[in-house]
């Protein structure tokens, strides 16, 4: 009882803090003069928006790793796919809602875009594709994988192979996604300039709203009856199967939903950073997401948000102060957190708050 209460309370607390932070940033950006002490520059707005996107991504990984026990090392692929969908839309946007040919097409002498760019000229269809494409890839991949009962480390390794294969594919110029240089030089979103102050603030607010809504959906999902089944699958898959649940279907549904969330995170991320390249598919990126979740604390949802903010904030600081040492810090973080903080920072807080011993979730067996 007590843990449940804390859990919910902590989550709400985290969301409340985030909202406060965002409101403060927006106010400070819009209402203070540029030379004021309280003014917050566009850089900070973008940074926090980025962190929010990462938080959403971490949330999606926590859902499959923390609750379902599937360690996906390929969620970066869904993030990047969502990003590419948005990038395609942005790169064909011209002035006043007209469409143009993206830059890379002229480099490789293409007069027309291939058929799969069809939905890219319309914002609504893009929004649909942002969810559809990562969801579809995850569905096909999950359908085959879960049905043949590939699990544990094998699953992790083939998710990694998936994102690696996608990276190689998107690096090819003939694929029609700009090759190594990716898609960049975005100018307009829905007819508005993408670099304007208002657009930045707007994107920040939208991202916040999406994160909050996603968190609430995930939270309700976990608290629902389905959520109990999900946790049961993590702790004793065979038993759940014997009881009569269709484990594969549950896994597939959650995995696909999580991929859609990751895709949305990517779509929100791209207009803010202004570029999407095949580097986003790098296996290292996918593993970094897992570390955010591990640092924050698995199977808490809000822990993922905390972890994403914390690790990325550290990364931002590190890359300014000691640009070369970031990988040292990240590597150490991996080792130390898995060895000494299996429940993450949130688990540490929880321990000090509640005296009641927690039930140890059994590890999903290999």
């Amino acid at each position: 009882m007590l843990t449940k209460y804390f859990n919910q309370d902590n989550g709400r607390y985290v969301l409340f803090c985030l909202t406060l932070l965002v409101i403060y940033l927006v106010m400070a950006n819009l209402f203070f003069p540029t030379n004021s002490l309280f003014y917050v520059g566009n850089q900070t707005i973008i940074l926090v928006s980025k962190y929010l996107c990462y938080a959403l991504l971490a949330l999606s990984v926590d859902l499959v790793w923390g609750y379902l026990g599937i360690l996906s090392l390929g969620h970066g692929a869904f993030f990047a796919l969502g990003g590419y969908m948005m990038g395609m839309y942005l790169s064909v946007q011209g002035e006043n809602g007209s469409t143009t040919l993206p830059e890379f097409a002229s480099f490789i002498n293409w007069q027309n875009l291939p058929w799969y760019w069809m939905g890219a000229d319309n914002f609504l269809s893009t929004l649909l594709l942002v969810m559809l494409i990562p969801g579809l890839v995850a569905f096909i991949f999950g359908y085959m994988t879960f049905r043949s009962r590939v699990s544990g480390v094998y699953l992790s390794i083939i998710t990694q192979a998936l994102t690696f294969a996608l990276m190689l594919a998107f690096q090819r110029n003939e694929m029609g996604f700009g090759g190594d240089n990716g898609l960049t030089n975005f100018k307009y979103l829905l007819g508005f300039s993408i670099t304007s102050n208002g657009m930045r603030v707007m994107l920040l607010l939208i991202t916040l709203i999406v994160v909050v809504i996603s968190y609430l959906i995930c939270y309700q999902l976990i608290k629902s009856k389905l959520g109990k089944v999900i946790i049961a699958i993590r702790d004793a898959e065979a038993r759940v199967r014997f009881v009569g649940y269709r484990v594969e279907n549950v896994k597939l549904a959650v995995f696909t939903f999580s991929a859609v969330l990751a895709g949305i995170a990517g779509a929100l991320y791209v207009p803010q950073v202004g570029i999407i390249t095949p580097i986003e598919f790098l296996p290292l990126n996918s593993i970094e997401i897992v570390v955010w979740v591990a640092v924050g604390g698995r199977a808490t949802l809000y822990g993922a948000i905390v972890g994403a903010f914390l690790v990325n904030y550290c990364k931002s600081l590190f890359t300014v102060w000691f640009p070369d040492e970031w990988l040292f810090a990240l590597g150490l973080l991996f080792v130390l957190v898995t060895l000494f903080l299996p429940k993450g920072i949130v688990g540490l807080l929880k321990l000090t708050h509640s005296k009641k011993p927690q039930l140890k979730p059994q590890e999903a067996s290999l």
Binding site: V150, I157, R172, I287, D324, F334, V335
Partner: protein, 524 residues
């Protein structure tokens, strides 16, 4: 009488070697008219002196100069002028030297002479090479005369055969129908690309129908042969890539396959092995070959020690939690990468390939095998066999297998699990180091070396079936061959993607790989 001639010859040689070229010869060579030069060279050829050979070569290649101020001949070598008579470098401005001009007659004269020298050489390989090089390069009737003369004297059957072929090819240029057919029959075993060109030409131009048909049938045979050798070459490339994959994956087959530990830092252990080679070559800068051989045990020890350290400090506490092991070892891989980037700079390091590993074996005109790849294949197989013996025949192998099958029972029977685990992990890591030594010979050595191999290695182990060394071998070779056979059709990048995707699909069908482990140890 013979002795007399011998003494005479000896005297001549010593005499000529000291005063290789009388001064007036040099003067005339530099200043005389072209006809005079030709006469002079004829005289020189009659002397038949081995020591003037470099002079002829320089003359034909246009590297022979005359220095007026010193009245001496000089040979240009690597932008330096070397005095012909005392072999010293002359340090004078370029414009002081005057190139000795020759015409085509002289060039031919010298070329013929050189050919004669080579063909009458005492060593058979020199004669063979000379005869081989003749094919398609016979221009003048005088050359044909030389060859015919030589043919009468020649003892070695291969040289004879080559000379006959060269002659036949030269005669093919203007022949009558029947003669042509005979010549083509003589040439039916030749695989030289020049001959292929000639055949193509013969089939396309006007001429006798029978000759054309004959040429076409020869051409077909040759194309077939060529296609076959190209396939052979692909197989060779495939096996060599497969050997590299096996090498990179075999250490992982021990740590992941037998122990069940996911070691994401495996690639970095390979990298450390490659850097060990670099350091050894830095320590022994004058003996790259010896350094390479020494770095085999060195890399094994260094990487084995690093591996044991990782096992004792981190992995030991994470047994039974494979996903956590994966994360922690990934952290270690980042740490090691950054460590080497800081220690050695992020740039690639140059590794010297010793001379005995350079070059290639020319099997025939269509097929040549690079030697370093041959070494890698041999090295890979050796390591595989040694490892197989360790696992099957030694007590360490027995203990490892016991622990992997039933850890609790093994401990009850007195197997020191912690020590055996550390040793096994050290063994797997040491073999990763050996892979690094081999990879340093065929790829760039930099901090990112390991990353390029880690996903492939895992794929090989999973494909072959975890816990099965033979599976790893077969999987590695299969993947290598599949990659190389797809490459000409789809391009390198797409081939890799296709192999990856088909692997992912394969794992769906058979989640436990090609050769799954059976028995009670396998959980359902």
């Amino acid at each position: 009488m013979r002795r007399m001639i011998l003494i005479c010859l000896l005297w001549m040689i010593t005499n000529l070697a000291t005063a290789a070229l009388p001064d007036q010869f040099a003067q005339r060579l530099a200043k005389g008219s072209l006809t005079e030069k030709q006469q002079l060279i004829n005289e020189m050829i009659k002397e038949n002196d081995a020591s003037i050979q470099p002079l002829f070569t320089a003359l034909v290649e246009g590297n022979l100069y005359w220095l007026d101020t010193n009245s001496t001949l000089a040979i240009k070598q690597d932008n330096q002028f070397i005095n012909w008579s005392n072999k010293q470098v002359i340090d004078l401005p370029k414009n002081q030297f005057k190139r000795i001009t020759i015409n085509n007659n002289i060039r031919q004269l010298v070329a013929q002479y050189q050919l004669q020298i080579k063909l009458s050489s005492n060593t058979i390989p020199t004669r063979r090479n000379a005869a081989k090089a003749l094919f398609g390069h016979i221009q003048s009737p005088s050359q044909i005369n030389i060859i015919v003369e030589r043919l009468a004297l020649e003892q070695d059957s291969e040289v004879k055969q080559r000379l006959l072929e060269a002659l036949a090819f030269a005669k093919l240029e203007n022949c009558q129908q029947n003669e042509c057919l005979v010549l083509l029959t003589q040439l039916s075993n030749v695989t030289n690309p020049i001959f292929v060109q000639k055949l193509q030409q013969m089939t396309s131009i006007e001429g006798s129908q029978i000759v054309k048909e004959k040429a076409q049938s020869l051409l077909d045979k040759l194309t077939q042969k060529k296609a076959m050798y190209e396939k052979t070459e692909q197989v060779y490339f495939g096996i060599s890539l497969g050997a590299v994959l096996v090498l990179a994956a075999i250490g992982l087959a021990i740590t992941f396959g037998v122990m069940g530990v996911i070691n994401m830092a495996h690639g970095e252990l390979i990298m450390i092995g490659a850097y060990t080679t670099y350091v050894m070559q830095q320590l022994l800068p004058n003996y790259p070959g010896i350094a390479l051989i020494l770095s085999v045990p060195a890399a094994f020890l260094v990487c084995g020690a690093v591996g044991m350290l990782i096992e004792i400090s981190v992995i030991r506490y994470l047994y039974g939690r494979p996903l956590e092991t994966l994360l922690a070892t990934f952290g270690i891989s980042l740490l090691l990468q950054q460590l080497f980037r800081t220690l050695f700079s992020p740039l690639n390091k140059a590794i010297i390939t010793p001379s005995w590993m350079q070059g290639s074996i020319q099997v025939n005109d269509f097929l040549s095998l690079t030697i370093n790849r041959l070494y890698v294949i041999g090295f890979s197989l050796t390591i595989f066999i040694v490892l197989l013996l360790i696992m099957k025949k030694t007590s360490l192998g027995l203990n490892v297998r016991a622990i992997s099958m039933n850890p609790l029972m093994a401990r009850c029977l007195g197997v020191k699990a912690s020590w055996v685990n550390a040793l096994t992990f050290g063994l797997g890591s040491g073999i990763a180091g050996l892979a690094g030594v081999a990879l340093s010979q065929i790829t760039n050595v930099g901090p990112n070396l390991g990353q390029n191999y880690i996903i492939d290695s895992f794929m090989v182990v999973v494909f072959g079936g975890v816990g099965n060394l033979w599976g790893t071998l077969i999987a590695g070779l299969t993947l290598g061959l599949a990659n190389k056979f797809l490459e000409p059709i789809t391009g390198a990048m797409l081939a890799k993607i296709m192999v990856l995707i088909s692997l992912v699909l394969f794992i769906q069908k058979r989640p436990r790989g090609l050769f799954p482990q059976r028995g009670r140890a396998v959980e359902g």
